[in-house]
């Protein structure tokens, strides 16, 4: 392969594989999901620590007593994950043609008017 043809091919590749900008609404959606997760994690952590009495904190220093909190955290994480997935699916369902059509219909139809059958 000559240097010239390699340079030309590399230029073509740079052109063909240009960076792709993510859609604007997508970027803000991911940010919302991530903030929700960080806030939820912080809230869970602080409420869990607040609820512990001195004797409970003392007993947690013994590794034999770690099973219950670890199981609770695992359940919390799973529930949090499920919530995120449900939220994402709900968002996805509410977009798309049907949702758009619904909102357009609501905006043009006088309030209280049922669709004609």
């Amino acid at each position: 392969m000559s240097d010239e043809s390699q340079v030309r091919l590399e230029a073509l590749l740079s052109d063909a594989l240009r960076p792709i900008e993510p859609p604007e609404d997508f970027a803000s959606r991911v940010e919302t999901t991530l903030s929700a997760i960080t806030e939820q994690a912080a809230a869970e952590l602080s409420s869990w620590a607040d609820e512990l009495s001195e004797s409970e904190l003392e007993s947690l220093r013994d590794p034999r007593n770690w099973v219950r909190p670890v199981a609770a955290m695992a359940a919390g994480t799973l529930a949090g994950g499920a919530l995120v997935i449900v939220g994402m699916r709900r968002r996805r369902r509410s977009t798309g043609f049907r949702a758009t059509a619904g909102s357009v219909l609501r905006s043009v139809r006088p309030s209280g008017t049922a669709p004609r059958r």
């Binding site: 392969m1 590749l13 063909a16 594989l17 960076p19 993510p22 859609p23 999901t33 991530l34």
Partner: protein, 179 residues
């Protein structure tokens, strides 16, 4: 400062660092995902999953990176997710890189027609490369990653990565000449 206040400050600092990482590399992860799966819908899913997974392991990754950039780690997560995506869809028809439309260019109409054909040919021929060669080229040209970054993302040595990219370009040129 109490122990819980220190924990909260550490957590806030970690979250800020993750936000910086997210803002700096959202386009990289999205571009990589798009060129791997070939459509915006799945690229969005893959990017979102990559950042959720990155957030989960961010503290450890940061600790173990010894101050090195985390982009290769992030792309490696996206790379693994994309591999799972293709494995899960192995029995179904997949949208591969052939489905990718060449990006539009702000040039004259004639140049667009001629140029887009050539770009389409490059994208089509990219699909004939093995997965590792194609991925290395996506990282190099779409993400402008250095050999060292690509090596870290693919879990290879610097030397092996250099050879991989060289062979990928050579094969691509041969594929282009077959037309």
């Amino acid at each position: 400062m109490s122990e819980s206040a220190t924990d909260a400050a550490t957590k806030a600092e970690l979250d800020r660092a993750f936000e910086d990482l997210y803002r700096a590399h959202l386009r990289d992860v999205y571009s990589y995902a798009y060129y791997r799966v070939g459509n915006h819908h799945d690229a969005e899913d893959l990017t979102e999953q990559a950042f959720l997974q990155a957030y989960r392991h961010f503290e450890r990754a940061r600790r173990e990176s010894n101050g090195r950039p985390l982009r290769p780690w992030l792309i490696r997560i996206a790379h693994n997710l994309a591999s799972n995506y293709h494995r899960d869809r192995a029995r179904r028809p997949t949208a591969n890189i052939e489905a990718v439309e060449p990006p539009s260019h702000p040039h004259d109409t004639e140049q667009i027609v001629e140029g887009r054909e050539e770009l389409r040919l490059v994208i089509d021929r990219l699909d004939r490369l093995s997965d590792d060669r194609r991925e290395a080229l996506i990282m190099r040209f779409a993400l402008d990653m250095s050999n060292r970054e690509i090596a870290r993302a693919l879990g290879r040595s610097d030397g092996a990565t250099k050879v991989l990219i060289h062979r990928a370009i050579k094969q691509l040129e041969e594929e282009m000449e077959k037309e």
